[in-house]
């Protein structure tokens, strides 16, 4: 019996102890009419050899094109040690660290993570993760509305990922929160400050500020943060943690800094994996800590006065506070955070900077090479980080399809989300791309255009 150790003798002696005739008798409180028959959609069990063969065949059906898509998930080198250690049974098969004395490994790792991510974002405190970047944005909006007290309106620029905006809507609309879209400047590809100014003086709970934004463009974060604060609104920074190795931390935006910083931790050690698991991070100023959802680890001492770590501020959470909790979140993405911590420790500041800078430089180089082609141009003028929008002279869907036929994922088609941009694609070249890869890209694009 797979994964069940009982021998026939065990079963008989256990039943005798219980005083039950057979195993079926243990279910005698269940009304007979409810008992299910045979399962039909599940075949016979496979042994490990058979299931290995099946999964290898399935994996072989998934091809590996040369990838130039980012759009919220980024291909980066992950050191071999990261997942070797993260999948040690002691990390992989531990539960949530409710019994602190038997969970110091997980707890200290999470405390180290909180330290690293709070420092990267320049914020005072971090939680121990949320599900992903998009749901973290939704939680940040809910948190801002709780903290603001009078307004249920949040300004959400169109330069925030449309995938994130869709998730935020799904989650926050049930609590009657109004999300107001702020258009972008068609020349720069950044939030339109004049359009934003039309909301000045109204009661606003928060402004979301993406950096880099979905187009890879860099927003004027100081001006946006200062504007939000002038309205009495909170500034929610939506950031890519890897870029913070080089970019100004949200805690340093404008005079007072952003109030909440969220994003997806995927660039820190999570494989692309068709979309998950990744993890959402959330950091905030000290004054907002008690409004933060999710688990938080604190450093304290044990009975002997020795340093130790424990879950803290649990009175915010659903298992204590029930209907009055800051969120319903229970399970988070702990193992992904463990991997991210090891990833950040291995790369260190220097390694993260190099990975970020190389991604920036590769995308710049690709932009120059691609936009040298007839009819291909870079669409926006604002400085960009490691993604760029290219405008094509032909149908973006057809060009991408042709490039896919040449073994290249050429970018993300913006047409469905931003039809006003015409045949625009979002392209990303991380540090994983060599100059030969860039040449292959350009050749494939040229071929697709002819």
């Amino acid at each position: 019996m797979p994964f069940i150790p009982h021998t026939e003798q065990d079963i008989q002696s256990m039943l005798a102890s219980i005083g039950a005739k057979n195993i079926d008798a243990l279910f005698d409180e269940i009304p007979a009419a409810l008992k299910s028959g045979k399962l039909t959609a599940i075949g016979d069990g496979l042994n490990e050899m058979q299931v290995t063969r099946l999964m290898r065949e399935r994996a072989a059906q998934d091809s590996q094109p040369l990838n130039f898509i980012g759009a919220g998930a980024y291909e980066h080198h992950i050191p071999a040690a990261v997942w070797d250690i993260a999948t040690r049974g002691e990390y992989y098969t531990a539960y949530t660290p409710y019994q602190a004395e038997a969970s110091q490994g997980t707890l200290q790792t999470l405390y180290e993570y909180q330290t690293m991510i709070a420092s990267l974002t320049g914020m005072d405190a971090s939680n121990a993760s949320l599900y992903d970047g998009a749901s973290a944005l939704a939680e940040a909006i809910l948190m801002a509305v709780r903290a603001h007290k009078t307004s249920r309106r949040v300004l959400l620029p169109a330069t925030v990922s449309p995938l994130y905006r869709s998730v935020a809507r799904s989650i926050v609309k049930l609590q009657n929160i109004e999300l107001v879209e702020i258009p972008f400047d068609i020349a720069t590809g950044t939030t339109d400050l004049a359009a934003l100014q039309q909301h000045a003086g109204s009661d606003i709970a928060a402004l979301v500020i993406p950096q880099p934004n979905f187009f890879g463009a860099l927003e004027d974060v100081d001006a946006l943060t200062a504007w939000a604060h002038a309205q009495g609104a909170l500034a929610i920074a939506l950031v890519n943690p890897l870029t913070l190795a080089l970019l100004k931390a949200p805690g340093q935006w404008a005079e007072k800094g952003a109030d909440i910083a969220v994003g997806d931790g995927q660039p820190l050690g999570a494989p692309l994996s068709s979309g998950g698991p990744y993890f959402g991070f959330m950091c905030c100023k000290q004054a907002l800590v008690r409004q933060m959802p999710g688990r938080i680890i604190g450093r304290t001492v044990d009975l002997d006065g020795k340093q130790g770590f424990t879950l803290t501020l649990q009175a915010r959470e659903q298992h204590i506070r029930r209907a009055k909790a800051t969120s319903n979140i229970c399970s988070n993405q702990g193992l992904m955070v463990t991997a991210a911590t090891i990833h950040m420790a291995l790369l260190g500041m220097d390694g993260l900077r190099r990975a970020a800078a190389a991604s920036h430089t590769n995308t710049q180089a690709l932009t120059v090479q691609a936009s040298g082609m007839q009819g291909v141009k870079r669409l926006f003028s604002a400085p960009h980080f490691h993604e760029v929008v290219l405008h094509l002279p032909e149908s973006s869907a057809k060009v991408l399809e042709s490039m896919a036929g040449q073994g290249i994922s050429g970018g993300y088609d913006l047409q469905p989300h931003y039809p006003q941009l015409g045949n625009a694609i979002l392209v990303c070249a991380t540090e994983t791309k060599t100059s030969e890869d860039l040449q292959r890209y350009v050749a494939a694009l040229r071929h697709a255009l002819h």
Binding site: H6, A41, Y91, A94, E112, A125, S170, G298, Q318
Partner: protein, 483 residues
């Protein structure tokens, strides 16, 4: 020692980083960071040793019996991890064409079909990333259903007092108010209270069956009739699905929507807190509202359904497609079990729980509901021990650590004083259960003979009991370089 204290300025891992220089040209200085974030500068070997040693400070299923009630800490087969981490699965970008992910999509489609079968539901979406998000999806679908019918006066979700905290928290996140109903002396829902609470304002009832008290709700047919007659829908919290897997289908009990914790019932790892996967199943009438994307199969080709296919969907709950790596692990597990193995899960989880309950009862421990069958878990109250010796359930839990056992869930559900909620799961052997009984008996003896020993426990862990009050009052959530 923290990783930051192992850091030395200038030490770096050349093998892990690109050869490229660390400078970025073309970014205005005003947007660049001036300060140095606090990241360690340590060698690869230092980092590997540090986190390997930290991991060794954990209890885990791979190292210890872990009978946490309501958490289903069963063995996590290694094949599930190895096969979910095949390079082609890991490398695929979520926005790459679906043609490049047919193998992965085939696994997800098959998993949807398997989950439909074991739950008796008409449709499944695998997208919610954890149980609580599955609950959110479920209640959001109930709300969407009522709203689509113009039935907007339904403002309340009914939740039994024994429910997990996520239930009331979820109802509030979905814009509902919570009406709590009591449990009777047998551990069942108080039907009179349910009748009184139900009416035209009722959007639905959230129920865990077997309940968190470890017993099967025998009146489920009456309950579903009361709620449905009032126009409400029934939500099944799948936290305890392991107890009935292959024995009873929630769909046959009359539930309209269910979430499953694949990290419990389908043996994906808990990972020190996550990631989980909270797939949702629905009855026919809720099919149009499933969260996106759902995997469909047409002419041997798999694709994700979008808003165009399901315009009434409650929408997306993650940027991409949920915790796919976890779903692949659950799929491998389901295929290894097969239909027969699936039936055996509930059988042996229940056998182990009833055996452990019988042995503890015979040993003189106070079982909360001795007149009832245990489901896959049961409750022991330490109140008599506390009255006699001053030793609390928490003291017993901490002393269990010294004996090499992870303690059961403590002080939940709150209805039973000084309780331990014990769930052994089907993957533990009789010898392990016997050793656990022996350890509890030893601790009881110690409580009488040397209570200080138990009160001071644990004595053998990397830390002794921690000062939680200090942790909350003098918040220290991030390390700072000593001044």
């Amino acid at each position: 020692m923290l990783i930051f204290e192992r850091s030395h300025p200038g030490r770096r891992n050349a093998a892990q980083a690109p050869h490229h220089s660390a400078a970025a040209s073309g970014i205005p200085a005003a947007l660049l960071r001036q300060d140095q974030p606090l990241l360690p500068e340590a060698s690869e070997m230092d980092v590997v040793r540090h986190y390997t040693r930290l991991s060794q400070k954990n209890f885990s299923i791979d190292t210890h019996f872990y009978p946490l009630g309501s958490c289903t800490m069963k063995y996590n087969p290694r094949a599930c991890n190895t096969l979910a981490m095949l390079p082609n699965f890991l490398a695929r970008h979520p926005l790459a064409p679906e043609a490049t992910g047919q193998g992965m999509l085939a696994c997800l489609y098959d998993l949807q079909e398997i989950l439909k079968d074991v739950t008796g539901m008409a449709g499944v979406s695998l997208m919610p990333m954890a149980g609580a998000q599955g609950e959110f999806a479920g209640i959001a679908m109930i709300r969407a259903y009522h709203e689509a019918r113009g039935d907007t006066a339904r403002t309340e979700i009914i939740v039994p007092d024994a429910a997990h905290g996520t239930n009331p928290a979820t109802a509030v996140m979905c814009g509902y108010t919570v009406k709590e109903i009591p449990t009777d002396a047998n551990g069942d829902v108080d039907l009179d209270a349910l009748r009184a609470a139900t009416g035209p304002q009722t959007a639905g009832l959230m129920l865990t069956n077997p309940s968190t008290l470890g017993v099967f709700e025998k009146q489920i047919q009456a309950i579903q009739k009361i709620v449905h007659d009032a126009g409400g829908l029934l939500y099944y919290d799948g936290a305890n699905l392991n107890a009935i897997l292959g024995k009873v289908k929630p769909g046959d009990m009359g539930f309209d929507v269910i979430h499953m914790n694949l990290h419990k019932t389908f043996s994906t790892p808990h990972g020190g807190g996550g990631p989980g996967a909270g797939a949702v199943g629905v009855a026919q009438r809720l099919l149009p509202f499933l969260p996106l994307p759902v995997v469909a199969k047409q002419d041997e080709t798999y694709r994700y359904l979008t808003e165009k296919d399901l315009p009434q969907s409650i929408g997306h709950l993650s940027a991409f497609s949920g915790n796919i790596g976890i779903l692949l692990r659950a799929y491998v597990y389901a295929r290894m079990l097969g239909a027969e193995g699936m039936h055996r899960v509930a059988e042996f989880a229940t056998l182990n729980a009833n055996y452990l309950m019988a042995e503890l009862h015979k040993a003189g421990f106070t079982v909360a509901f001795p007149q009832r069958r245990a489901s896959h878990e049961f409750i022991v109250s330490m109140k008599p021990l506390k009255d006699a010796t001053g030793i609390s359930a928490m003291d017993v839990a901490k002393r269990l650590l010294d004996k090499g056992f992870h303690p059961p869930t403590t002080y939940f559900p709150m209805l039973v004083p000084e309780c331990l909620l014990i769930e052994p799961t089907e993957t533990e052997s009789k010898e392990t259960l016997d050793a656990f009984v022996a350890a509890l008996k030893e601790i009881r003896d110690e409580a009488h003979a040397t209570p200080e020993l138990v009160k001071g426990a644990p004595h053998t862990m990397p830390a002794r009991r921690l000062d939680d009050v200090k942790a909350a009052r003098e918040l220290d959530l991030a390390w700072k370089t000593p001044a």
